[in-house]
């Protein structure tokens, strides 16, 4: 007890004049400054440069000048609208497929995996560590013309059906829309599974029991309880899949053909090969505006404001 009754150690003698909190008035700004400056200079400013480039005319040799030449937008749209539409369709198809494929797996991890939960989680994430380009190239082997997948699809006459629908061509899968959508789905599937899992995992398992107790069959329980509660995951999962898929050009390039070129391919070619900067900038600007508009409407309609 002796240790407790000793005299207290001396502490600061004179009271400070200024209250402690006032000193920290500028702290948030100092904390924000470097990172926000970085984002302003290397994210926001480039957007402005791009907007300005899109209304310039000139040539590479003579240099470009801002001439408010909005016709570039019109020309770009009228020439490349098929690629725009294709991008939206492919991305939408991949997003729906991701949701259909990803939901059961996310559900499995959240509610049915038990002691295997961590292992399955690792298996979902681990492929990330192999470069996605290498993994996408593997699909060339899987979908090869004389490979087992094409063989099975062919003997089941599925390919004649997809040929008829225009998804595949000439009894092959590679270099067709199906291959591109398949690649997009594969590439962005984890971005669907992880948010789905996060929101499913938050659901109290007793809610299922309560629904069952209140005469809901398993499917009704899913429709009326589980799915509505997982909506935040569905919304952020579809956005995280759709946005990058719509701008992607890797899958179209590696698994597709000239008939499956997406808007990303066009922007890349214009910028890096043809060096037509105004057209490329205009296309990029249109893509950005279209995606932002779609995302805004989507978030409004799904009523989930807190995505981040």
């Amino acid at each position: 007890m002796a240790t407790l009754t000793e005299a207290p150690p001396p502490l600061a003698p004179a009271p400070e004049k200024k209250p402690a909190r006032k000193r920290g008035r500028f702290t948030p700004y100092w904390l924000l400054l470097p990172g926000i400056l970085w984002l302003i200079i290397f994210f926001a400013l480039p957007m402005i440069y791009q907007a300005s480039t899109s209304v310039q005319t000139g040539s590479l040799e003579e240099g470009y000048k801002v001439t408010w030449h909005f016709a570039t937008y019109w020309d770009a749209l009228s020439e490349y609208w098929p690629q725009f539409l294709r991008s939206v369709f492919y991305a939408a198809a991949a997003t729906v497929l991701c949701l259909l494929l990803g939901y059961p797996l996310a559900y499995l991890i959240a509610f049915r995996a038990g002691r295997w939960r961590n292992l399955i989680m690792i298996l979902v994430i681990a492929p990330f560590f192999t470069s996605f380009l290498i993994r996408t190239l593997a699909w060339k082997t899987i979908l090869a013309d004389n490979g087992p997948v094409v063989h099975v699809l062919n003997s089941l006459h599925i390919l004649s059906l997809t040929d008829f629908l225009g998804w595949t061509a000439g009894d092959r899968v590679l270099a067709t829309p199906l291959a591109v959508v398949c690649g997009l789905t594969y590439n962005f599937l984890p971005f669907m599974i992880l948010p789905l899992y996060t929101s499913l995992e938050r659901i109290d398992g007793r809610l299922h029991e309560a629904a069952g107790d209140l005469y809901a069959k398993p499917w009704t329980t899913f429709r009326k309880v589980t799915f509505p509660l997982s909506m935040p995951g569905v919304v952020s999962g579809t956005l995280l899949t759709f946005i990058p898929a719509a701008g992607d050009y890797v899958n179209a390039e590696l698994l597709g053909s000239t008939d499956t070129r997406m808007i990303g391919n066009v922007i890349q070619t214009q910028f890096l090969r043809i060096l037509d900067y105004p057209t490329a900038a205009a296309l990029s600007f249109i893509l950005m505006a279209a995606i932002l508009a779609m995302v805004t409407i989507y978030i409004r309609r799904s009523g989930t404001e807190d995505l981040v």
Binding site: M1, L4, P8, L11, P15, E16, A20
Partner: protein
């Protein structure tokens, strides 16, 4: 500076209004003498925790000053105040083990050899074995003792406790109340304890300040507050009171004679906190356990000079040590009466006519202008 008053906490005109305009604490004066066990009691949102945080330095008062002994600490940051806190839900550092949690304060003040002190302190709270465990591996009671040890090892002039037992179950809470009381007696440090549990405040503290809506309603020893509440809030918040509205009839000597529901009640003038003018109203109060219950057939056996009220048993609950009756009477529809189960009268069943009677000395009088239900559970809900 004399040693006697170095642990005094003196709050002068202290008040707190937040930026959004909400006034948590109305400007008030409060002195907690050195070495006392002082409780701030009130419902949630009454300003008791804000008051505590202003003493700790975690909240800056809008008006007034805080003195520890002779030192003005109003504008000192918490890490320069000789005050330590046992936080609600403990706030043990989850990334540090028990030893390092307890050693934290010593290390921050640059004390090198902490081993002996920390070990002694852990012995005091009977946790010597657990020194290398992480907080989440301990039970609630053990975590609570770590929180106390972590604060006490710094020899603060004042120890602040913010609902320290709120997270524990009832049995453990009773045990820890005695434990804390023992530690306080042993170390002789001023304890300021914030709680919403009136039983806890009365068990542990020498002095209790009952707070309501940012004000101290009444301050005194537990027995004094219980026996002589000055407001309806205190009367209802501390235990249960039966309050009857009555009219002042006459005064006779030291007593006030009151009319209520056709009957007469006697109230000692000294126990009336309201001005009593003839014809004016007062609230007459009596605690349920002070009342005796007699079947109407035996009304003749009640001694003269006791206050009496007639009624009907509405409900009787057998609790074990006592039976709690609810009596329907002309002056109050739900009169609570607690009767010790010494000899139970089998006739006292619901529907039976009874006479309630008690000694005038157990009656108290309150200002009738107040809300009669202030501080009751119904009001809180």
């Amino acid at each position: 500076m004399t040693t006697d008053s170095s642990g005094d906490v003196r709050l002068t005109g202290i008040g707190k209004t937040y930026d959004n305009g909400f006034t948590a604490v109305q400007p008030m004066d409060l002195t907690v003498p050195q070495g006392s066990f002082f409780a701030l009691l009130g419902a949630s949102g009454c300003g008791k925790t804000t008051t505590l945080r202003m003493i700790a330095g975690l909240e800056e008062p809008t008006t007034g000053t805080v003195h520890l002994g002779d030192q003005d600490v109003t504008h000192l940051p918490p890490y320069k105040r000789p005050v330590n806190t046992v936080f609600q839900s403990y706030a043990l550092f989850p990334h540090l083990d028990i030893f390092e949690n307890v050693a934290f304060g010593l290390r921050r003040r640059g004390i090198k050899s902490v081993k002996k002190q920390v070990e002694d302190m852990l012995e005091l709270v009977q946790l010597g074995e657990q020194a290398r465990k992480k907080p989440h591996q301990l039970s609630g009671g053990q975590q609570q003792r770590v929180a106390v040890a972590r604060a006490l090892i710094n020899h603060p002039k004042v120890l602040l406790l913010d609902e320290p037992l709120g997270a524990l179950d009832l049995k453990l809470r009773r045990q820890m109340q005695l434990e804390l009381k023992r530690i306080q007696t042993e170390v002789g440090i001023t304890f300021v304890h914030v709680t919403h549990d009136q039983e806890e405040a009365m068990t542990m503290a020498d002095t209790v300040a009952v707070m309501n809506a940012g004000r101290v309603e009444q301050l005194g020893s537990p027995a004094d507050l219980y026996e002589n509440p000055n407001t309806t809030f205190v009367a209802n918040f501390l235990g249960t009171s039966n309050l009857i509205e009555a009219e002042v009839d006459t005064k006779s000597g030291d007593d006030i004679i009151l009319k209520a529901g056709g009957g007469k009640l006697v109230l000692p003038e000294a126990r009336c906190s309201a001005p009593a003018t003839t014809g004016g109203k007062v609230l007459v109060g009596v605690r349920p356990e002070k009342i005796s219950l007699t079947h109407a057939d035996d009304a003749g056996s009640i001694p003269e000079g006791r206050n009496r009220i007639t009624g009907k048993v509405a409900d009787a609950s057998f609790i074990g040590v006592s039976t709690q009756y609810v009596i329907d009477s002309a002056v109050c529809p739900e009169f609570a009466v607690y009767v010790q189960n010494i000899e139970r009268d089998g006739r006292l069943v619901p529907g039976a006519d009874v006479v309630l009677h008690w000694s005038p000395a157990h009656t108290f009088g309150l200002d009738a202008a107040q809300d009669i239900d202030a501080g009751t559970e119904e009001e809180a809900a």
